[in-house]
């Protein structure tokens, strides 16, 4: 099974680097055939290009929810995704729309997508460091993803 773990974000905007940092953490202790670890700043259609051809994709990204607790990690699945797609459909092409587009066009898409999202604080200050609560969440997210991958 071809698996992709994709860290999304921006390495120079503080907490937005969390996806990259988790991939780094995984890379330090995790390697197996058929597993690709990748960082990317892509969104929308760019994501479609990246996930094409994999059987399974795990995405790690930053998230900012109203009143959310910094460093909290959410595990979301395709069901959450379609629900949110319903909510956010009027707007920019999101992963769900990209996914639907891919399906319509007959592109080979993964059977399974899981999303880990870390609640962040600051994504507008130029820095390669995360804020303290988010920094603490990084090893935890690494462990969670390692466990997620464990059952392969």
């Amino acid at each position: 099974m071809k698996t992709l773990v994709l860290g999304l974000g921006n390495p120079i905007f503080s907490d937005d680097s969390v996806g990259f940092r988790v991939i780094q953490g995984l890379r330090d202790k995790f390697s197996r055939p058929g597993l690709t670890l990748m960082e990317s700043s892509a969104s929308g259609l760019g994501l479609l290009d990246l996930i094409t051809g994999y059987d399974r994709v795990i995405i790690i990204d930053a998230i900012k929810t109203e009143g959310g607790q910094a460093g909290k990690i959410y595990r979301l699945n395709a069901e959450n995704l379609s629900a949110t797609r319903h909510l956010a459909s009027p707007h920019d092409i999101n992963l769900a729309t990209a996914f639907e587009l891919g399906k319509k066009l007959g592109i080979a898409l993964p059977q399974e997508i899981t999303i880990f999202a870390v609640e962040v604080v600051d994504v507008t200050t130029f820095s390669e460091k995360c804020t303290p609560e988010v920094e603490k969440a990084i090893p935890l997210a690494v462990t969670m993803i390692a466990e997620e991958l464990g059952g392969d």
Partner: protein
């Protein structure tokens, strides 16, 4: 006072906010386009080797990293006083042309297209790329995806990495092209020309043959008489990569033409208390407020501005399309903001044609790709045309090439004053006392800024599609009377 908030701006990378204030009579009094403040770039850059800047600055933006990479690389040429060999310059342009094809494709079909192909007031659930392919056909959808993927493949081949290239060095590039790669690029380039032609035909069929759309394009609500700015070559033709910056006045006459190093003699920045963005304006005209006309220093950048600021295109099919646009819209310059979509497609075709030319250039596979810098670095300015307009990188270093000062003026900032004006004008024309403020009406206001292809450089990748994107409307007491989406 009633307050309308469109927050965050929909279908836009990063996050922004538009606030519209109504007076007691229910007419638009003012509007503000605001973006989040990005803090600490100067401090972040200080003390880093200048050679790192093409890698760092391209991270600022999730939308046009290639443009930052290129402006930064050119600033390094200037900083280290080195002139790259001709094949290196051509390789840079090859990558840049592929980037322009991909980026313009994305903007037209994903962001702009739905308004026209589905209609400005079409149900929101249909006004997106899925609606577009349902209407125009899967085949076109497939061509959009293929064109993007193939051109990203060129960027990967030439630039060493997809999306974020690593090939720009002071004095040249890090990697030459082999014959096999060249052949592959030539084929993609030819396909891209066909796609560019097809896109203009789609625009012709769907937009230009629809009188309602043409009337909307030329309507006063979407028109501003401003100066225009863009890079031109030695014959005053559009160039994305190099040349001088040319400015034409609202009547289309050349107002200024300057080399990158001279930009501070021509562009100054106006500060407003309500905005983190500083508003660039033409220094030699002066800041007169957010107003149109020859006496106002407000200028515009981006595709239509580039076409207005130049005398034409260097490639045959794009030149033909250029002439058609101006003859259809009543000559140069064209002041209609919505015509920017047309100009973007003309540029898409131009970029594809350039790609063919460059892929067939005998020098393109030359191994002579680097001039090693030997001079002491001090100060450098690099200017390119990003898809969204003129992009300026300016660095000052010590004698070791360590950054002391860094200044960037990005395309969206160059357009900031005009964007504010465009939103206000459309809002004033569309929001009337007693008229219900519908989602369709708000979208028509959004259509006033969408052509600028704003890039707020925020690049904060909050999980796509997770949070709902609310548009809230408040009455004069500040009470919420309408919210979109509803839950």
């Amino acid at each position: 006072m009633r307050k309308i908030t469109i927050d965050p701006i929909t279908r836009l990378e990063g996050h922004g906010k538009i606030e519209i204030f109504l007076n007691d009579a229910g007419e638009v009094e003012n509007s503000y386009f605001q973006v989040p403040e990005l803090r600490g770039f100067e401090k972040f850059s200080e003390g880093r080797p200048a050679e790192d800047m093409p890698q760092i600055t391209q991270r600022i933006c999730g939308v046009c990293p290639e443009a930052h990479h290129m402006a930064s690389t050119k600033a390094l040429d200037d900083l280290f006083h080195v002139d790259p060999p001709s094949p290196a310059k051509k390789l840079r342009q090859l990558l840049y042309s592929a980037f322009m094809v991909a980026d313009h494709t994305t903007h037209f079909y994903i962001l702009a297209g739905p308004d026209f192909i589905m209609g400005p007031e079409a149900p929101v659930a249909e006004r997106n790329i899925l609606g577009v392919i349902a209407k125009v056909g899967l085949e076109l959808g497939g061509a959009v995806i293929k064109t993007r993927m193939q051109n990203h493949h060129i960027i990967h081949m030439v630039g060493g990495r997809a999306i974020h290239p690593v090939f720009g060095l002071p004095g040249g590039v890090s990697k030459a092209l082999n014959e096999e790669e060249r052949k592959e690029i030539e084929q993609i380039a030819k396909d891209s020309v066909e796609f560019g032609k097809l896109s203009l035909k789609v625009f012709d069929d769907i937009v230009l043959k629809n009188k309602e759309y043409v009337d909307m394009i030329v309507s006063d609500a979407y028109t501003h008489y401003t100066y225009y700015m863009g890079l031109v070559d030695e014959n005053n033709k559009v160039n994305f990569y190099d040349g001088k910056v040319r400015v034409v006045d609202p009547e289309g006459r050349e107002f200024a033409k300057y080399a990158p190093r001279e930009y501070l003699e021509h562009v100054a920045e106006h500060v407003e208390p309500w905005s983190y963005i500083k508003f660039p304006y033409l220094k030699n005209v002066g800041w007169k407020g957010f107003v149109d006309g020859k006496d106002s220093g407000v200028f515009r950048v981006a595709p239509l501005a580039r076409l207005n600021a130049a005398d034409g295109m260097t490639t045959p099919l794009a030149q033909e399309a250029y002439e058609k646009m101006y003859s259809t819209l009543g000559g140069k310059p064209v002041h209609h903001t919505l015509a920017m979509h047309w100009a973007r497609l003309i540029e898409l075709l131009y970029a594809a044609e350039r790609l063919v030319e460059l892929s067939q250039d005998p020098e393109i596979t030359s191994p002579d790709i680097r001039t090693i810098p030997t001079a002491v670095p001090d100060e450098g300015v690099g200017i390119v045309e990003a898809p969204r307009g003129t992009l300026i990188h300016h660095y000052v270093t010590d004698e070791r090439g360590v950054i002391k000062k860094a200044n960037l003026i990005v395309a969206t900032v160059n357009n900031a004053a005009a964007v504010n004006m465009s939103i206000k004008k459309a809002a004033m024309a569309l929001i009337k006392p007693g008229k219900e403020i519908t989602e369709g009406l708000l979208n028509r206001i959004e259509m006033a800024w969408r052509p600028y292809d704003l890039c707020l450089a925020c690049a904060s990748h909050n999980l796509p599609g997770y949070s709902p994107l609310p548009i809230a409307v408040y009455d004069s007491k500040g009470k919420l009377i309408k919210r979109f989406p509803e839950n």
